[in-house]
Amino acid sequence: MKSRSLILFLILSFLAVGLFLTDLAWGSIHISLSEIIDVFFRKSGDGINSEILLNFRLPKAITAVLAGASLSVAGLMMQTLFRNSLADPYILGVSSGASLGVALVMMAATFLPVAFVSSGWALIVAAIIGASVVLILVVGVSFKVHNAVSLLIVGLMFGTIAGSLVSVLQNFSNPDAIKLFVMWTFGSLSAVTWTYMTVLFPVVLIGLGMAFSLQKRLDGLLLGENYARGLGISIQQTRFLIVIATGLLAGGITAFTGPIAFVGVAIPHIARGLFKVSSHKVLLPATILCGASLLLICDIITQIPTYTLPINTVSALFGAPIIIWIILKRR
């Protein structure tokens, strides 16, 4: 049992590193592996290529790793908390909240200074505020509602309300603003520059740290809330911490990259299917590796055609068949 996990971890780690390097080399301009080594270790190489590598492809690849890991871990925690294999962070309304924030800034922000709106930070701040507001509402409700499934429904309803408000905004906006917003919903890994990375990286690190510190309680939650209580787990506190960690991970990523669908729901299933374990001690690092690898693959695919495809579309193309497979396998 243990050796199986160890071998899988080794294979996945090599795969992730390989995909990371491929992602750096791949693109409309071909950069060979030796050139990559040159740029990183000898601080030399062609000026344009090193510019592309260091300031475009490297942050994009790191973002892919962070986004894949964060969304998958958030999904794993949601699935355990709700004991529902179709739960994911977006179900709690994280992406809808972020969308609402972004939509407000893009389409209704005549009262904001133009310099702020046109800078990238406006969208990020708006998305984080939007996601946080929805999450705070959900956490508030979680103290009143004692049943996880009801909380799931409340999260869905908050998401629906936010989605409707976005539609209302779109109805009254000019076409340019709508196009800008639709572009944001496509998701983009390349939007994260080094400046943004100094914020995103610590947020993700804190979120992942919280997830790992909760792993023992997450195992207990597999038994359901009553049994977990019988094992001495404080349900309210644990639920609160899980929602906060999910907010940091999924909210943070969504703010910087736009929504990336299906990763959160699909990756935990892939990890469970590969490792055949239920313990979060193994599942957490497993989902991180699988999530990072999958988003790197998605990012490589988006670079194949002459026009780059939106990451949200590619991840959905991967994720949706996996969900169908899960449902068929369950029968």
Partner: protein, 327 residues
Amino acid sequence: MSILTTQNLSIGYSKKGRTDIIQSRLNLQLRAGELVCLIGPNGSGKSTLLRTLAGLQKPMLGKTFIDEREIIRLKQQEKALLIALVLTERLEIENATVYNLVSLGRHPHSNWWGNITDEEDAVIREAIEMVHLGHKIHQNINELSDGERQRAMIAKALAQDTPIIMLDEPTAHLDLPNRVEIMLLLHRLAHKTGKAILLSTHELDLALQAADRIWLMSADTGVECGVPEDLVFNGSFNRAFESKSYFFNASNGNFSMNYPMTKKVWVSGDKTRMYWTFRALARAGYAVVQDADVHILVTESGWLLNDKNITTVEEFLFELECIFADH
């Protein structure tokens, strides 16, 4: 030695400021090394009492003490070291083996990272052996039968290593052999490990045989505690399960149906066949009365009715019908 005691405990629910008290002024004692069965009609508050004693639900009034400590003042973590639970919820955990499931019972004891040390491993394996699941230790719990699954849940409770185990209807959804086995297992565990085991059940006859003590609940008369036989002798069972359509039969510990019995017959003869003869007669509506006009003699191989030798119940009921039709 009593390990859990209640003082004037009232149980029930409060919803929107309205309190609904199901049972009040309960003074109960749970002793170490005893199997106690909680029985009573639906709605008498078995689950509510169990949940209140386990601290999952607040009492309406009164207190529950475990070893002089009031349960409501204990932290969740401290409660987990005193009471282990087996509930009615069915678990669906992907990829979990029996060993994984039982190891979750060590949760209150293990360090924050939840590592399984050699000592923990020994406790887990011992718990699995105690419920006779050693051969299925690495089997996925979704592949277990209902009886094995329930035994795995009991092993989880054992691994939690608490002085008290509470089980909510552990024999529900099981077939008769498994019900008997679970009851025997719990009886044996209580005596062997010195734990106090409290369970709620609808299996009256099994509870009467396996329980060291019975807590008999009914909506009207509250909770009566005692050794099973004492409760039978003093008529408590009959009072608790009073109904027009059936009665508690003290001679066999089962419920018997109340048939309308208008026709009278007198039966005498072989003892072993008598019981089944009574049952057949009751169902067909005959009251057995001393010195009635119609006399049935039960022989070793059949019945003697009106000087006629009869070998099957069907024939003899038909014969009786003819006699009463003539009257």
